[in-house]
Amino acid sequence: MTRLTTFNIVSLTLGFAFLYIPMLILVIYSFNASQLVTVWGGFSTKWYGELLRNEAMIDAAWVTMKVAFFSSTLATVLGTMAAYVLVRRGRFYGRTLFSGMIYAPLVMPEVITGLSLLLLFIAIGLDRGVLTIVLAHTTFSMCYVSVVVSSRLVSFDDSLEEAALDLGASPFEAFRLVTLPIIAPAVISGWLLAFTLSLDDLVIASFTAGPSATTLPIKIFSSVRLGVSPEINALSTIIIAIVTVGVLTASIVSKRQITRRLREEAQAG
């Protein structure tokens, strides 16, 4: 353990202050009794009550969750398949082109992705709604999944799959029974990444959402334009709480797994 010097303490404090003071202010003001966002009027939880009664907001939250769930699941399936083919199936003709193309959406400005998807949906006559947002989110998040999964597959020992084939498994069984369970952590983190990306996407969703379906980011953005209501603060605080709990749980679980594994390996000698 290195000793904390004054310099370290100062830089740590500044760094964390920079990151967390805005959020802290938001959380504090969510308990503000006053209607005015910038004036403290005493402690109250009334905005949380208001939020629960705001059906438009609850609807938007529900749509967002649905979109995030389906798009991240679809993106995980497609992204894993793409990563598997690009990493494991050797050098086929046009492989470099394919792997370049799969990562292109990572650097493509979101406005362009959104616009092109909008034009496509209009061209094929697809009514904008939950389905179009799901498709749009799948499109841009599958490349993130593919990046995460292929980085795991690169370090995957080929002979494991060969051993499965050798023991009589068909190529599909080898994938399902051996490869997939081993790369599962990467697939799950790919799914979580896609889920988070879908949750907070505003740009692409606003291009592809229709009047029948509005996601939470769109709802928040449009209501903020009419003036920040303390309700939004309450909503944001809830989201921050959920994310914090999720991140803490994930890191505690993975830390426990690592320590258990290290202990077991030490015992095996």
Binding site: L160, E162, A163, L165, D166, L167, A169, G269
Partner: protein, 378 residues
């Protein structure tokens, strides 16, 4: 099963009536411009413990992977038990492989690793369980059945890999450098265990190794490979005592190689190696002609060292001790001849309190019998 020979030794390759399990006929494998296997023909018989030996890059692993079905030959035919194997995928072959990295499934317990292949065959639960227990007993890992691969030691992992590949009772078991990851002592113990298991199960084993000592210890026959070709296929003893080429003599064990030319050829061969010196006498190798450039090969342990000139042997040379290496069980002497070559000779240390007869810079005589050395074509 062939039982040829007077001492009832296992040597089906000498028996014309024996039916080989594996026929490799004119098999080649090319990767682009690179020829990994160059028209190899080879028969391997049931219950053999066959070793493919060679330096890395000689094609031994490629040949094994073709037997397993992971590579397709570019030409030629491989048949196992009379069936043409070229188009049969690995999961449809009665062949199992033990991988160099062991390739144990890290997410499955030892028990489930061994059961993996049996379950793919659709065996019912009781029969899977019975077979797994039998295998665990064979490799003595009963108490580790519920552990995961990362919870057991390297030697235990090696045994799990062996049990897993034997569980389906394959006709042929392929072992890719099976002992490479073990330390020396464990490796030697495991060699004998492997031979024991091979005998118990009666499975045909084909082992790939770059370790000549390992190949010599375990194998009934050894194939020495170089650059995609088979150089010699014989029993360990023949490979060691009658290598057919300088390459084999040099690759297997220690050998002194003295260049010269054939001066006489009859029942034996004489090699002129230095002007004004009597020729060295030895047994002739194949395709030797008089006057041809050749190499005299003599193993260090077949050379005697003495202070006086020995009168009873034709092959005798005099030189000066350059180096002495004490290895415990034996000592090696490097003796420099005035004609140039440095000859290595090994003497067993039989007595614990032996007096050192020779020391550095001593003039000594080296001698060996007329049949101890070989004259090999170059």
């Amino acid at each position: 099963m062939a039982a040829a020979g007077k001492e009832n030794v296992f040597a089906p390759w000498k028996d014309d009536a024996a039916v080989p399990l594996i026929r490799i006929d004119q098999v080649s494998k090319r990767f682009g411009d690179f020829t990994a296997i160059d028209k190899i023909s080879l028969n391997i018989y049931p219950q053999e413990f066959f070793a493919l030996l060679g330096p890395s890059g000689c094609g031994k692993t490629t040949l094994m992977r073709m037997l397993a079905g992971f590579e397709k030959p570019s030409g030629g035919v491989i048949s196992i038990d009379g069936q043409d194997m070229v188009t049969v995928p690995p999961n449809k072959r009665a062949v199992n492989m033990m991988f160099q990295s062991y390739a144990l499934f890290p997410h499955l317990s030892v028990w489930d690793n061994i059961a993996f292949g049996l379950r793919r065959d659709g065996l019912d639960k009781d029969r899977v369980a019975a077979r797994v227990e039998e295998m665990l007993k064979l490799v003595q890992l009963g108490q580790f059945a519920r552990r995961k691969p990362h919870q057991i030691s390297g030697g235990q992992r090696q045994r799990v890999a062996l049990a897993r590949s034997l569980a389906k009772a394959p006709k042929l078991l392929l072992l890719d450098e099976p002992l490479g990851a073990l330390d020396k002592k464990l490796r030697q113990e495991t060699q004998f265990e492997l031979m024991d298991i091979q005998e118990k199960t009666g499975t045909t084993f084909v082992i790939v190794t770059h370790d000549q000592e390992e190949a010599m210890t375990v194998a009934s026959r050894v194939a020495v490979m170089d650059q995609g070709k088979l150089i010699q296929v014989e029993t360990p003893q023949v490979i060691y005592e009658q290598p057919n080429s300088v390459y084999v003599a040099d690759f297997i064990g220690d050998v002194n190689l003295i260049p010269g030319s054939v001066s006489e050829l009859g029942g034996g061969a004489a090699l002129a190696w230095a002007e004004g010196k009597p020729p060295l006498l030895g047994q002739p190798g194949a395709s030797l002609a008089k006057g041809q450039n050749a190499t005299f090969a003599i193993r260090p342990e077949k050379i005697a060292i003495s202070a006086e000139e020995p009168q009873d042997r034709n092959n005798r040379v005099q030189g000066k001790i350059l180096e002495i290496g004490y290895l415990g069980n034996l000592s090696t002497y490097h003796v420099e001849l005035p004609e140039g070559p440095v000859i290595k000779c090994e003497v067993g240390n039989r007595s614990r309190v032996e007096r050192r007869d020779f020391t550095w810079e001593d003039e000594v005589w080296l001698s060996w019998s007329d049949t101890a050395g070989l004259v090999l074509a170059r």
